[in-house]
């Protein structure tokens, strides 16, 4: 089985499990007392944000590894990860306002985490645009690695500066010093959806990576084959 086929199967499994998230979240997880049904979007929004962050982290890591080892597979992986990350950040940026309108009374606000994710999206777009604007493969790989590393370093700065600016986003409820402050059944659903979104990320990246490899054949980037 080729990489693309394996990626396709993994994605298919992920999509079936995604349907499982909806069933579990809607039918078998208690409804939050204050937010009502709107809170259900949490099980899609938060894992999508996680996958987008994971994608950016891995773009940065792959960029560093590319610059050290000059192995074009890292470059291709970074490109695939950025492409998939763009999709996940789009999911995060659309589900967020859907939840925010009934709960905060506004579609958008310039809170620290919202701004951070918006810029995450801009970085992904910029990264893909830069790749599209350089025709020579070695140059493209080096340029995008530089941008990937800078982007990774930028994100904490944006978070910190906007955090100092003002914040409204719900505080972390899972990853914080004390125990998670949500009921066990909700936590299970959330962790399950984290797993599914990570699986989807891997599936998508495998397909993008295989596709990039196929289109590189004969091109200047084929030297790594």
């Amino acid at each position: 089985m080729t990489l693309a086929q394996r990626g396709r199967w993994l994605t298919l499994v992920g999509l079936v499990l995604l349907a499982g998230i909806y069933v579990r979240a809607l039918a078998f997880t208690p409804t939050e007392r204050f937010q009502g049904l709107a809170q259900k979007i949490f099980y899609v929004h938060v894992p999508a944000a996680w996958s987008a962050m994971l994608a950016m982290g891995l773009v940065g890591l792959a960029s560093i590894l590319f610059l050290i080892m000059k192995d074009y597979r890292f470059d291709r992986f970074a490109a695939a990860s950025a492409e998939v990350g763009t999709a996940f950040s789009l999911v995060m940026l659309t589900t967020g306002p859907l939840w925010a309108k009934p709960i905060w009374g506004t579609w958008w606000t310039w809170d620290a985490r919202l701004t951070l994710t918006l810029f995450l999206f801009f970085l992904f777009i910029g990264y893909l645009l830069l790749r599209g604007a350089v025709s020579e493969a070695p140059l493209r790989a080096r340029y995008s690695a530089v941008l990937g590393i800078c982007g990774l370093v930028l994100l904490p700065f944006i978070h910190l500066s906007v955090y100092l600016f003002r914040t409204l986003h719900p505080m972390p409820i899972v990853l914080k010093p004390s125990a998670p402050s949500l009921p066990g059944s909700m936590l299970v659903t959330l962790l399950y959806s984290f797993g599914v979104f990570t699986l989807l990320y891997v599936g998508f990246v495998m397909q993008c990576y295989a596709l990039a490899g196929a289109s590189d054949v004969g091109g200047a980037g084929a030297s790594d084959a």
Binding site: C150, S161, V162
Partner: protein
């Protein structure tokens, strides 16, 4: 280190002499700054919003655009007659080249800001008398941050398609942290607040400068090596 800076200064001087003799870039950037300031004047309702509330935004949006314009031409200059290749085969390190461009860009943007600041004070009647020294300090801190990343990116975009468009798209997200900091500090300064209120922001600006100067120095050789 001394060697690196000495080489950097020689190249930076060459760039600046070129700019000062032709003057086209300086004059256009200064006129652009003046025009952006006038655009702001007509882009607001003076009866509804007090100038001092809007002043920090006006100043920093203007400076951001001016810096972008200046950075776009940083390496454009070297494309003519393949001057960049000449620089690359010269017996100087890539680090010197980055610092050379950094110094030249800082001076260029600084000169444009020296024109922009008095015009800003004149056009919008902002009281800067008592806070001029700290204000210039903040402008310097933010400008170094802008130029540190901008110089690195402008070396990359010259060899891409749509270079003039690519630089703002890539660079603007990177200008957000120094921009937020600079606007906050400027607002406090113009509002007559004590400096102690903005130490957090100043620290953030300084940290940004140090981190991105280091990172850009490390990454720059990758962008110009053949």
């Amino acid at each position: 280190m001394g060697e690196v800076l000495r080489h950097a200064w020689v190249i930076a001087r060459k760039d600046l002499v070129l700019e000062f003799r032709s003057r086209t870039a300086f004059v256009s950037a200064a006129v652009f700054t003046a025009l952006v300031l006038t655009v702001f004047n007509f882009g607001r309702d003076p009866t509804a919003v007090a100038t001092v509330d809007l002043a920090p935004s006006i100043l920093w949006v203007t400076f951001t655009f001016a810096a972008m314009l200046a950075l776009n031409r940083a390496f454009q200059l070297e494309l003519e007659n393949e001057a960049l290749d000449g620089l690359l085969v010269a017996p100087i390190s890539r680090t010197s080249l980055y610092w050379a461009k950094l110094i030249a860009n800082c001076v260029f943007v600084g000169v444009v800001e020296c024109v922009g600041l008095p015009l800003f004070v004149l056009f919008f009647d902002v009281p800067v008398g008592g806070v001029l020294a700290p204000l210039i300090g903040v402008i310097a801190l933010a400008t170094v941050g802008f130029v540190a990343v901008g110089t690195l990116f402008s070396a990359m975009v010259i060899r891409t398609r749509f270079a003039e468009l690519m630089l703002p798209v890539l660079l603007l997200p990177f200008l957000i942290p120094p921009l937020i900091g600079a606007v906050q500090v400027t607002a406090r300064l113009l509002g007559g607040r004590p400096l102690s209120e903005v130490t957090g922001w100043l620290r953030l600006l300084a940290a940004y400068d140090i981190v991105f100067l280091t990172l850009a120095t490390l990454l720059f050789p990758t962008t110009v090596n053949e």
